[in-house]
Symmetry: C2
Subunit: 339 residues, 2 copies
Amino acid sequence: MIIDCHGHYTTAPAPHQNFREAQLAAFEGGLALPTPLTISDDQIRESVESNQLKLLRERGADMTIFSPRASAMAHHIGDEQVSKQWTRACNDLIRRVVELYPETFIGVCQLPQSPNVSISNSIEELERCVLELGFVGCNLNPDPSGGHWTSAPLTDKSWYPFYEKMVELNVPAMIHVSGSCNHNFHATGAHYLNADTTAFMQFLQGDLFSDFPDLRFIIPHGGGAVPYHWGRFRGLADMMQRPALSDHVMKNVFFDTCVYHQPGIDLLFDVIDIDNILFGSEMVGAVRGIDSTTGQYFDDTKRYIEALNLSKQDYYKVFEGNARRVYPRIDALLESRGL
Amino acid sequence: MIIDCHGHYTTAPAPHQNFREAQLAAFEGGLALPTPLTISDDQIRESVESNQLKLLRERGADMTIFSPRASAMAHHIGDEQVSKQWTRACNDLIRRVVELYPETFIGVCQLPQSPNVSISNSIEELERCVLELGFVGCNLNPDPSGGHWTSAPLTDKSWYPFYEKMVELNVPAMIHVSGSCNHNFHATGAHYLNADTTAFMQFLQGDLFSDFPDLRFIIPHGGGAVPYHWGRFRGLADMMQRPALSDHVMKNVFFDTCVYHQPGIDLLFDVIDIDNILFGSEMVGAVRGIDSTTGQYFDDTKRYIEALNLSKQDYYKVFEGNARRVYPRIDALLESRGL
């Protein structure tokens, strides 16, 4: 079984976006927020079958851990109520995709974060999604300001109530920023990668996993700049008299494989322990075209991994085993199906 | 000849830092700024001979392109006058190092940037350093706010007067941020790498090099996350209907080799054209220790490059030729010495 740990519903039917626009217009006009528009099952089927499902089948993967479009979370737009309503609508839509294709999709939720609003206020939605909707994890935004980085670092105690709930529910979080309203940062070309690098360095500096030995994070996009600069991070840990990264960070932090060329994947697997790598493609996501140098989709990361000639055991880890370990609720679900 | 394109005076004698502290205390107290303290030639010799010169000799390099300590530029502290005075003191000290060791060091200047102050105000110091002190380039900070990223992107026309002067003087700039006053960003573990990635993506998005075909930038730290995510950037350029990176960006942008492990250097040279890579070590810099897995200094990047078994011609490019091409004033100086 091949599980893609990183898929977003980037192709949601038009009424979903239309609702968002009406919602923001109402907010700006000081009017009551509208209710989400009706979306039919057929609209959902069409949006998925011609995109994610089609590519999944073509590429030979079995299951996608699926969450709302990351760039559209836009926690910096509107206020907490706007974020809450939008988040519920996004998560409910993921739930409907999962209901229509339970063999293929499994839900991960967006959180109703908002700048200067306590992360504790996101606990309720996490519980709803995990306990009522059957989701297996969440996307946690380290910068709800959208590129102004006004929050406390992820190791700050203000995040702890949320981490306690994650541990209690036994769900991991993917660290994932949203769109950028800072004109210095292109979202998918700078802000995403910067956030990945930033989060890792915060974990290196802090002692978060002494306080939460069971907390688990996935840092997407191949860990940002981290594997390429692995010597730098090992050296910084040494200079700062932190423990070795293998003990201090890498028992709790995992990287996906959203690195869109063979040399990058080669380096990732060369440098990072196989137990810390989860197959992911971010499909349909940041980069949708075909690489003229290979004739294949940039984001068909399964090809790059298959070119590595790993052992059978290592392939099992990257494609399935690590995901089942990091997301125990997936493991339980698959077991209940005899898988 | 082996030229290290990235060295900072991180070991300046104590009176330099004492002056800085007195200067900032005076600023905060609303008093007249003090004048720089006297530093003897012997103090300078000692600070360099036991550090940069010692390591340079041990590692077998010949020359370092030398600039003030990057993390201490701290453009976000004080105001424009404070930045101007500190910048002059830092640059004057670099000039003295070069005068004492003209065969080994060649100067690159800090700029008197300050948040919300026009970059045009840095032209005078650039001219002074190049025309009077014999410097060959500058370090340009894309974020003088120190981690709040309040400036316009590097492709914005507000930067153009400075670029015109760079072209006129025929000097390149290394894109280099300073310390971070944003608690999310560790300076050398996150802010530096994020800035490198951010600058590259700004160049990809913009059309700066159509306006300035002769403008040249060095992006340090191996280009941040860029080479590791080279497929992502090629794919984004394709999606955004930009020209190929080789034409659009890489005629004007160069990466150094400040990547502190063998797999990272392997990837850099695998992915980036040899004409775009300049040997650099950032010594004595961000990571000063010895890698326990190799028994060698993390930042002894010459070793990693030598392990690549490049052709003689390619070694010439990385160690000398590219630096002479990107910094024409170095080439002229060396030619005047018959080198």
